[in-house]
Symmetry: D2
Subunit: 391 residues, 4 copies
């Protein structure tokens, strides 16, 4: 019973983190901060926490940032931090979707590593341009498709890679919620407002907000790529401007087939992200709301319950956890794993050594680009009566 994962070693070095967005009233920024803190590899030292300068200032004070590291504008922050001796090692971009690209560009140009929330951008063109810029910069660019940080998600991926399922045939993936089952955006809920606003959220609603997570999870676990899809997007709540439910059929490069469902009107569901993968030799099932167990079903054998850090888990999975089997880890720990992976990547550069290979599991800008292509394909397919569209 020892503490496992990245926490097991000495810390050695804490990296300096800046943040864009995530001020008062925001949601995901606070999650990023806890995630960064959890494994003690990051220290938040700077922020442009709101596009409103006064709100940015107050938000910085809330977090005990030093006054001279509180910025009213992310461009100022990028410019100044690059020149500071103890400037930030990386920036976390946690604004609404439409603002990701400009902020990311500013920090890439300043030579600062980037951790960006998903979806990467609101258009495919912007995603491609940003990806080129990132590649050319040689900087680390992570995208927080955070569910890939769950230990048993990594376990699932490793099992597929090891051939334990044989050739994959069928993938069933879904992410269903109910928080937009009524017109929440008309009640003053800030989160609902921007997520249903095409100007801030992009061309898709549920597809961009949660469908991308489901899509990312399917590609991450199978190690396969969705080649084409047929999508039926729908808006059930009257007056809403973006889709709140989508049904899709998927075809993978390998020949596997799949279905994807995302919904914000699935009454009774909270964050029902669930994936099932069926191969020639075995199947597996994982549910985000009960993430410490993975059901693994070899053909003609009794299904097995693989528990986080328990019997049957491999090294890559155990390395992503902190505590012994039977003491549940959750969403924040999974999110923290992405931050620790990125910390390892940056630290390795600072120390002139290769990063631990496990840390490369963290999703990068290429995964971000895939997500944007997925959204784009889904919207176009649905506009054409669910015609098959290539990604």
């Amino acid at each position: 019973m020892t503490i496992t994962g990245s926490q097991d070693q000495a810390i050695k070095r804490r990296l300096r983190l800046g943040m864009v967005g995530g001020g008062r009233g925001a949601f995901i920024g606070a999650v990023h901060r806890i995630a960064a803190r959890l494994d003690d590899r990051w220290e938040l030292v700077a922020g442009a926490l709101s596009s409103d300068p006064e709100r940015a200032r107050l938000s910085g004070q809330d977090l005990l940032l030093k006054p001279d590291r509180i910025y009213g504008d992310f461009n100022d922050m990028a410019r100044r931090e690059r020149r500071l001796k103890e400037g930030i090692d990386a920036v976390a971009i946690v604004t609404p979707n439409h603002a990701h690209a400009a902020a990311a560009r500013a920090f890439l140009k300043a030579g600062i590593h980037v951790i960006c929330d998903k979806p990467l951008t609101t258009t495919r063109r912007e995603a491609d341009q940003l990806a080129k810029l990132a590649r050319d910069s040689g900087l680390i660019f992570a995208v927080t498709h955070n569910y890939t940080g769950y230990p048993l998600v990594r376990q699932a991926r490793a099992m597929v890679q090891a051939g334990e399922l044989g050739a994959i045939r069928v993938v069933q993936v879904e992410y269903a919620q109910d928080w937009l089952a009524t017109r929440t955006e008309a009640t003053g809920n800030k989160q609902a407002e921007w997520r249903t606003d095409p100007a801030r959220s992009g061309p898709a609603g549920s597809v961009g907000d949660i469908g991308t997570h489901a899509f990312n999870l399917a590609e991450f676990i199978t190690g396969d790529e969705v080649q084409s899809l047929s999508a039926d997007l729908h808006t059930f709540v009257e007056g809403r401007r973006l889709d709140d439910n989508a049904h899709m059929m998927l075809r993978f490069a390998s020949g596997a087939k799949g279905m994807l469902w995302c919904s914000q009107v699935a009454t009774g569901l909270e964050n029902g992200l669930r994936i099932r993968v069926y191969g020639e030799k075995a199947g597996l099932e994982w549910h985000q709301e009960n993430p410490n167990v993975l059901l693994f079903s070899p053909l003609n054998e009794p299904p097995r319950l693989i528990r986080r850090n328990g019997a049957g888990t491999g090294e890559i999975s155990r390395a992503a956890g902190r505590i012994p089997a039977g003491h549940p880890e959750g969403y924040l720990e999974g999110f923290a794993q992405i931050y620790s992976d990125v910390a390892e990547q940056i630290t390795a550069r600072l120390e002139g050594r290769p990063a631990h290979p496990f840390s490369l599991q963290a999703p990068n800008i290429e995964h971000g680009v895939r997500g944007v292509r997925f959204i784009d394909a889904a919207v176009r397919s649905s506009q054409r009566k669910a015609a098959w569209v290539q990604l």
Copy 2:
């Protein structure tokens, strides 16, 4: 703690049942016989249990039928039983799919009520003709979409009808197995042989065998009709002649949307028939493998576990069970309910009174026709790259 359901009353009268198919080596025939026996409203007295006369004779002996009620041919049986004073009240047709129609016609023409296994026929034309014949005959014609006999399936339907879910928006239904994950039909397995043989099974494999059950369940519970579908059928196992996996997107007459998945290659699953229905006001979920609980989730309230015959169940649901809550009923009991419903319908006619309204929940030939249309539409859609096809 009293015995509930149809068993609660005196029997009064046992009906006489004949059977076509279901001899040695068959599967579903034995299930029909148990189902008929369970509530003590039927007595098996005659059979043409195989198309092979010798096998028919031996099978009849196995079941202790009187020698003169053992037939080598269903036409002989129909002709003779109609003339007997104590001839059969109804016939159960449990042959492979392709033989349903001819047998059904023979008994309808003999004025004998019919209980027919699903799918009703292998072609849409045949289904329509048979339906016309049945309607014209005035006889009772039940189709064993047996899952509608589960008490909590009826509970679900009643709750939708009562408006407890509000307008239905999304339906997710699936029936997934793994018994054909390898080429079982090449190993001498009789069940696998005919189910993967177009000549006996019809134009569809998994879609006809289990997809129809999923489809029927979706229409039964929602009380809605699938208007069109987009289907992607696939055969994963090399050498197989019919689909073993199918993905579909559904559109209902009411405006609801849905997805349907059926598979015989979903490694680890046994009889994973599961349905989830989401309405404006609430959602519900039911799983055939754990059929004594129904998850009901009103918006913004804690989800509730409605247990068979327990708190929160209505009369129609309780009437379909036999024993108190907490003592599980299963597949055979659900199947038996269809037989008891049909017994009630026939008995009511014999007694010159209206049948108990609950007994009308049993699926009839119109449901059988819907099932055949579903298969037909799925096959045609898939042939046209998943184009939307009307039912």
Copy 3:
């Protein structure tokens, strides 16, 4: 996918069954009748269905018994049936507890096999005397500790016997309900009335009614005997005359230790019969309310889900089921297995051959005696401040 279990073979012979008790208003009698009918090895032909002759007559008519096989008194029935050429092969005794012994004696003396509900008698002395009579008679005497008929209970027992768990260390067993959480017996509920009445139920309430089942299950699965126990019985509902909750610590002959809880006031529970057994090498868990799965956990391996008739089940378990894995069987099927086992035992005698060894799994009078000793020890221990009492 073939029908499994005893149903797989030809019937060959239907045995004739009589019944004592189980008339109008009774509960368990109807369960016995369904159980007897399910596998088609019994035909109910005679009954003394109530101690009230008029009620007995009406109840017999309800069940379509022939008038001359409807008895107003079980002694008449025993005497006459023994002389009939086609007299009953066995009698099912389903009266309240206090009446078991007299009826059982009458039929034993008439040379008729007995199937008796549990607990066998209301006193230890009476149980011992009856057991002697039964042994001396050479007749078959089954006691319906029906939960041993569940296929996965037999699977569990077989696994313990095969040493798959190693030496057993700990047994946790419980049977908890809530139907007596209020004073149900004062509301006209017949079942509650006699079960809380010492004159009809015996010296124990919950301990006799359901504790005996838990006790029997623990001994059946472990193949071990409880040697002594320390019990704390309590009556929570004011005005009730028998215990409605009991806590016990157990010591087994092998050195294993256990706990037993039975309750009729466990709010929210229906028929929560659950057992967990932990050995040196593995543990297992089974729950009556979800009886088609057995959790098997070998030390340092992922727990496995053994499903009824699925991968990992042995012959003895598969023989006790009727339908393929994934189609749930329940309480009635488990109960039916006891009847089919007894039918096999009797048929074997009639045919002059040894009974199939699996049929000997059915609980017999020795198990009934153990149950009565358990009740007796629990009551005495509790009267002595939970002192350890030998069975």
Copy 4:
């Protein structure tokens, strides 16, 4: 969807934490550090991380402590920190059990608040003396019965307090593991070594290590006190010096009765801490391994699934969580809540205001004393053949 709980507000002030124990090779120290860090209300600044000075030094370096805040001895640390202007606000004591008391005394005498791991001490006398010292000091003294930090555990307690269950009748609580199913302590496992060593662990093994958690949970949720118990402790693994399994019957002050099981040899279980409480009006059930759901079963109503931060939760429960419903929180978050509660208590003193009442849910030294009394009573009862012993 806003971040909830203590994280929702501005931080305002980070407290300074010291730690005794928890150096290289330790387990629970790292958990305390993550817990302290999670909500950003603590900063670890000093430590006497091992009784071995060299190990203490290296461990301090691992954690990036300043050299002058790394101590080889806790007495030195207490003396010096009290005099520092920026000395620690509180100390976390995370040594093996036998060393708790001396360290706690040292810091109390230095006027420094204490957070101490459980069990408080290894003898009842020591516990009473320490409690007196703590009371006299007026300092805050928390004991990390950390499971009380889970949001739904607080929800459960609040529901009992609000009378939603009516008078409590029955409590079933258990904490079962399997990590000592073999002689782990002979394999070089440090955690197993000291936990099975009377000199370091005290007079009890499983009872002290995990039984105390179960006991604490039962008293916390019911708000009731165990008045007496009857215990059967046992050592199953040969050569082990302390109990590895214990069965107990409990009697509460209110008249409720209960059972408690703790085990370290329950093959297949990891951290199976589970509690069920049955009252006159309702029952509830919570399982640590799936901590984001609480089953609540009002009599004669369908059971309800209360999900962390979801519908049906109250303010006190929601305040103990960080993220929206459906994104699971786990063990570290629950542990962190205790640290945040203590931070709030200390901060309130520093700011001269009353602490937020919710923060008083954190277990204090009185709960620690109860735990030690429980151990003492259990050991004495078992020595006297499970006689009833008062706490």
